[in-house]
């Protein structure tokens, strides 16, 4: 087995090459509770920073998606303290100043782009900050749709912005107020409330298996 050395919080361990950071820590004997969630790149629990030998840069990525490299220095971030102001969506308007009023620290952005470099999803994080400042809620929502709230940008930000909370509010404002409702959904909800399908369902729930199989086979399949 081809083994390499990784330094978990500064302590060296020999692990098989090709493992993810997460699996390498487990191989070394760590039982994870913090720093491990979906293990598939969706939940953002496993934010990790690392350095490589002979390289001044501090890298940031998800432990479940990043292979180990020889000589890697690894530290997981167990938690990202981040301020989320109290709000109720129904009390807010999808207007230019809404984000800045709740998250005034957005104005402290110095456009250093460190957030963008830290993003494991390779999102244009700084562009989303700038869109927030312009009051472009839809722009923020679209820029940040693939955000997994790992908090890495927040931990690196010199302006101390709690990015993922800003993005969450922007997406909800966009979904609730800046996107037209589906009229056909409203219609169907009203039809169900009026009992339009009641008789048909009353009949279906009492059908024998043979009757159900026949009805199932007779379905028309939408092209």
């Amino acid at each position: 087995m081809n083994e390499i050395t990784v330094f978990i919080m500064g302590k060296g361990y020999r692990v098989p090459a090709g493992l993810t950071i997460m699996k390498a820590m487990e191989y070394a004997g760590y039982r994870l509770a913090r720093g491990c969630g979906c293990r598939g790149g969706y939940c953002g629990a496993c934010a990790t920073v690392y350095r490589l030998p002979g390289d001044y840069k501090l890298y940031a990525d998800l432990a479940c998606q990043t292979p180990v490299q020889d000589g890697m220095y690894i530290a997981q971030l167990p938690f990202t303290p981040a301020e989320r102001p109290a709000y109720t969506l129904g009390d807010l308007k999808a207007e230019g100043q809404t984000l800045l009023a709740l998250f005034p620290e957005l104005a402290r952005c110095v456009a250093c782009n460190t957030c963008t470099k830290a993003c494991p999803q390779k999102l244009e994080v700084m562009d989303a900050v700038q869109a927030s400042l312009r009051g472009d809620i839809r722009g923020v929502a679209e820029f940040t749709f693939d955000c997994v709230s790992c908090g890495l940008c927040t931990m690196r930000c010199p302006a101390e912005i709690s990015h993922h909370h800003v993005w969450q509010l922007a997406r909800r404002l966009n979904g609730a107020y800046l996107t037209p409702r589906a009229e056909h959904v409203q219609t169907r909800v009203a039809e169900i409330a009026a009992g339009k399908f009641k008789a048909e369902l009353d009949k279906l729930v009492t059908m024998t298996k043979d009757e159900l199989v026949a009805a199932y086979k007779a379905r028309q399949i939408e092209a």
């Binding site: 039982r31 598939g40 629990a45 966009n174 959904v185 169907r188 199989v213």
Partner: protein, 551 residues
């Protein structure tokens, strides 16, 4: 090219050599008889040795996978004699166990039903939102287009479940579905829509109408994070890293809360509650029959264990959902889902020799069985023609370059962009190289028996989401898991809130656990086995073999 190890490269050369001839042909579809033979021979559910009948409890005699039976026929992880549960540390109206989709929806609807936020507690094993709910990609079903109806949705669900579903649960699900989609719109979920607001809806496997609503291919993430934010706005308290290790009962055999255990400090907390909702998710991390899984880290069937000890009935747990195409390489992606659409766009499954061995679009269980037959060694009845990866996984090829060859350059990246990005991250270009796949453990079809209000039949105990059974029968259709947790999370939240208003819980006790342990002893269960397991064991063998507990 060149990201695959050399021994795998040789197999890719064979794939490339057979490709020109394969572009025009496909293996014939199997007859029903051939399908049945293949299933009986190779589908994990048909392996009698994979299951055993439960020898204790309310579902005595029911067959379940050994991996689950080992947890149900197991002694309490927490010694009932080691804790004093008679003096609650916390006293609430509603305890929700599990902070995924079902638990969060239940908490919100209990609040909407009049339970004050501070009288609700969500206790969850990992973080709020860490769940299978957040990982769902494809979408959520609801019959809300003019040419569709709840009745048609109902038939699709029953057919998918081989007519084994509980009719009243299916009815509840299909009738509530459009209302929940509307609720999501109110909350600000960004569904994929036409400019006028019309939902973009597509087919899923086994649907007769296009009713799959999606939010790009992050549908689960988008719904879960909006629900979590709404729960935060409402001020619902959440205890993270605090799994329930046992339910509590009183002298009337009502469930009156749970014992939580702090995963980090080891401290226990006794929570007394007028009503308790189990929303603990599924069992993917049990790795039934050794399969990898699409599931999140905490999917260890804790809720089934706890519910069974208080006398709840279980159903359909003999049926395991395996998705045929889980990633088998690189190691970082093992078990993750590769959508069926890749085969829908003409990529063929191939063995090590580059031979097509099954039609790409057989039913999921049949397709999975064919992959398994191809990979199993001859001494186990298989063909031994799988491809072995450097970490010892085995898989078959999915010949992804065929997609662009048949549908035109750029088709793959356009139509399958998330899969494309997933592999490009690991320097594998699926438009130029095939990918390795193998069936992956995806869903717990069955679970705790409930009625249409999420009630388990035990006073004070409700269940919602993947932990419950009956909605999907023996087989769930794509897009009905997100719907299930919304429908039954809401129903359980409302019903539990109503119960909490009139309930009078007595002194909490673990008497049911002691009784259950006595039954285990009578049945001759060895004392070493403990449950719930809370987390899967992934530590390296070498490290584990030298570990000693000193402090």
């Amino acid at each position: 090219m060149g990201t695959y190890p050399r021994e795998i490269q040789e197999s890719i050369e064979r794939v490339e050599a057979t490709r020109p001839a394969r572009l025009a042909t496909k293996p014939a579809r199997l007859t029903l008889q051939e399908q049945e033979t293949l299933l009986k021979g190779f589908h994990p559910d048909y392996r009698a040795e994979g299951k055993r009948k439960l020898k204790v409890g309310a579902s005595w005699g029911e067959p379940v996978p050994h991996e689950l039976a080992d947890l149900l026929e197991a002694y309490p992880l927490l010694d009932p004699g080691a804790v004093d549960v008679t003096k609650p540390d916390l006293d609430v109206d509603l305890l929700v166990i599990g902070g995924g989709g079902a638990g969060t929806v239940a908490a919100i609807w209990a609040h909407l039903s009049g339970v004050p936020a501070e009288r609700i507690l969500i206790a969850t094993k990992l973080r709020h939102g860490d769940s299978n709910s957040i990982m769902a990609q494809g979408g959520i079903q609801a019959a809300d287009k003019p040419h569709d109806s709840p009745a048609i949705h109902y038939l699709d669900v029953l057919g998918g479940g081989h007519f084994t579903n509980d009719p009243k649960l299916v009815r509840a699900m299909v009738e509530d579905a459009p209302e929940l989609i509307r609720w999501h719109e109110d909350l600000g979920v960004m569904y994929d829509k036409a400019p006028d607001g019309t939902m973009s809806e597509i087919h899923g496997g086994g649907t007769s109408r296009k009713r799959m609503h999606s939010a790009k291919d992050y549908t689960g993430l988008e719904i879960m994070r909006v629900l979590r934010d709404e729960a935060r706005s409402r001020g619902v308290p959440v205890l993270e890293f605090s799994p329930a290790v046992e339910l509590l009962t009183d002298s009337q055999s009502q469930v009156v809360g749970a014992v939580l255990w702090n995963l980090e400090t080891g401290e226990y907390t006794v929570v007394r509650a007028k009503a308790t909702i189990l929303a603990t998710g599924g069992w993917g991390r049990l790795h039934i029959q050794g399969f990898p899984t699409t599931n999140h880290y905490g999917a260890t069937a804790d809720g089934l264990v706890l519910a069974y000890r208080v006398g709840a009935k279980l159903r359909d747990l003999d049926a395991v959902q395996y998705h045929p195409t889980g990633a088998a390489y690189p190691d970082q992606l093992v078990g993750l889902l590769i959508t069926e659409k890749v085969r829908g766009m003409d990529a063929q499954p191939l063995n090590r020799l580059g031979e097509a061995f099954v039609h790409p679009l057989e039913p999921r269980d049949v397709e999975s069985a064919a992959f398994i037959r191809e990979c199993l060694p001859p001494e186990k009845g298989g063909r031994g023609l799988g491809i072995v990866t450097p970490t010892g996984m085995v898989g078959v090829w999915l010949d992804t370059p065929m997609v662009d060859m048949i549908h035109g350059k750029g088709s793959f990246e356009r139509a399958l962009s998330s899969i494309y990005r997933m592999y490009i991250r690991f320097d594998i270009d699926p438009t130029r190289e095939p990918i390795l796949v193998y069936p992956t453990l995806h869903y717990q079809n069955g679970g705790v028996v409930i009625d249409e209000h999420g009630w388990t039949g035990i006073p004070g105990l409700y269940a919602a989401g993947e932990v419950e059974g009956g909605v999907h029968g023996k087989n769930r259709l794509m897009g009905n898991s997100l719907l299930d947790y919304n429908v039954f999370g809401r129903r359980a939240g409302i019903a539990a809130a109503a119960w909490a208003k009139k309930a009078s819980p007595g002194t909490p006790s673990l008497a049911h656990v002691r009784r259950y342990a006595e039954q285990l002893q009578s049945a001759g269960v060895a004392p070493e086995r403990k449950a719930p397991i809370l987390l899967p064991e992934y530590r390296g063998e070498k490290a584990l073999s030298r570990m000693v507990d000193l402090l």
